[in-house]
């Protein structure tokens, strides 16, 4: 937002690009969970573009991004976030778009030292090189601490009006936002990607381990964002809706997964992910009962439904918390 405004203020035509990887935080979870209903369901990239009065292009990179996550060229960050590889990938995609659409250079809001892996003085040239953008990649917020890029050398951009931000603190950006009159802005640090989330990363690692290979599709990574996940046995896991919003969302998968829900009490919709035999389903039904309003009762009736719509009612004793090992929770 700040970098775009700095460049637009020099009279340069700027358009925004937002890449959708499938791991983006905003949108999905806000739309699904009841507790998020009160929050505005805005897409931050669209919101920023509107504030800046620039066009925005949202690009679906779900398929191409898989290789970045599965085979991170520079490894993972603190969790499953392939930060440096991700940055190179996205700038590379922006370069392709720039070339296809007759634009001259790319700007990003990167700041030297802002992030421990992807925004260091020594990794910034890596992104420029691996993306193929080279000196058509301009970082307006810290440009004066870096060698002049092509747009600066050619005089398309006045280098003197660019900045020399440096370090982890976001105070300089906040001060600049205030100067520009931006009172509201998106979460400034790492909050936009589920791969930076420890719990989500654990669930993704579990998915790959259970499959015996690093592979995912869009439904897999959507489901990792929803519900409580428990793996009682290696061959299956349960996805337990936590509120009506999540139950409704999970209901959309009823033709793809065996699922269950209590009929004698109010409770969650539970998807059975994996191959479960009769004993597994009995265990799953007892866990379903555990998360229902009948959890303290002697017996809860649970409907076990197959993917063809067939349904069987089973009466089970809800599991007690002591019977559920902590490591079942993913």
């Amino acid at each position: 937002m700040l970098a775009a405004r700095l460049i637009a203020d020099q009279g340069i035509h700027v358009e925004g690009i937002n890449f959708y990887t499938g791991f983006c935080v905003e949108g999905h979870t806000h739309a699904i969970r009841n507790q998020h209903r009160a929050k505005p369901k805005r897409n931050n990239a669209l919101w920023v573009a509107e504030r800046l009065n620039i066009k925005l292009h949202i690009i679906d990179v779900i398929e191409q991004y898989k290789d970045v996550v599965i085979n991170p060229k520079h490894g993972y960050g603190a969790n499953m976030n392939p930060c440096l590889g991700c940055k190179s990938f996205m700038v590379g995609k922006a370069r392709q778009w720039m070339e296809q659409n007759g634009f001259d250079f790319i700007i990003t809001g990167e700041v030297i030292g802002q992030r421990p892996k992807s925004q260091r003085r020594d990794t910034m040239p890596v992104v420029a090189r691996e993306s193929g953008a080279f000196d058509r990649l301009l970082r307006p917020l810290c440009a004066r601490l870096l060698p002049p890029t092509l747009p600066e050398r050619e005089g398309w951009v006045n280098r003197e009006k660019l900045l020399r931000m440096n370090g982890r603190s976001r105070k300089p950006q906040m001060a600049l936002a205030k100067q520009f009159g931006f009172r509201d802005y998106a979460q400034p640090a790492g909050g936009c990607c589920f791969l930076t989330d420890k719990r989500y990363s654990h669930k993704l690692a579990d998915l790959w381990q259970s499959r015996g290979e690093k592979r995912y599709d869009l439904d897999d990574i959507m489901l990792l964002k929803v519900g409580r996940h428990l793996r009682p046995r290696a061959n299956f896991k349960l996805i337990v809706g936590r509120d009506d919003g999540e139950n409704n969302f999970l209901h959309g998968y009823r033709r793809q997964y065996v699922h269950m829900f209590p009929t004698s009490h109010k409770g969650p919709l539970v998807l059975v992910n994996g191959t479960a035999d009769a004993s597994d389903l009995q265990l799953a039904a007892r866990l379903t009962a555990r998360f229902s309003q009948g959890k303290e009762d002697e017996e809860v009736t649970v409907a076990v439904c197959n993917t063809e719509g067939g349904q069987q009612l089973v009466a089970v004793r809800p599991m007690s918390p002591a019977e559920i090992p902590g490591d079942w929770y993913l």
């Binding site: 937002n18 959708y20 983006c24 949108g27 999905h28 806000h30 739309a31 699904i32 505005p40 369901k41 805005r42 897409n43 990239a45 669209l46 919101w47 573009a49 509107e50 009065n53 620039i54 066009k55 925005l56 292009h57 949202i58 690009i59 679906d60 959507m222 959309g252």
Partner: protein, 74 residues
């Protein structure tokens, strides 16, 4: 000028916006597009996308769990 329809049900934002963006590229100025959605986030995102890209929001209608957003290509 012609009328078109796009089914974006069961897609969560921003995928409905992305599908609209792709569809609009194939349409002519003045064409109308009815977008069927199930994610209420589309009620904010598609109008915002229209505003910044010069398209006109004609109507939004909610029926049960589904929303229809009609836009005119600008």
């Amino acid at each position: 000028m012609s009328r078109h329809e796009l089914d974006a049900r069961r897609l969560l934002c921003p995928l409905p916006v992305i599908r609209v963006q792709e569809k609009v590229k194939t349409l002519e100025r003045g064409d109308t597009l009815d977008v069927l959605c199930s994610d209420p986030g589309a009620l904010n995102d598609i109008p915002a996308w229209c505003r910044i890209n010069g398209h006109k929001l004609i109507d939004t209608r909610s029926e049960g769990h589904h929303i229809t957003i009609t836009i005119e290509v600008g």
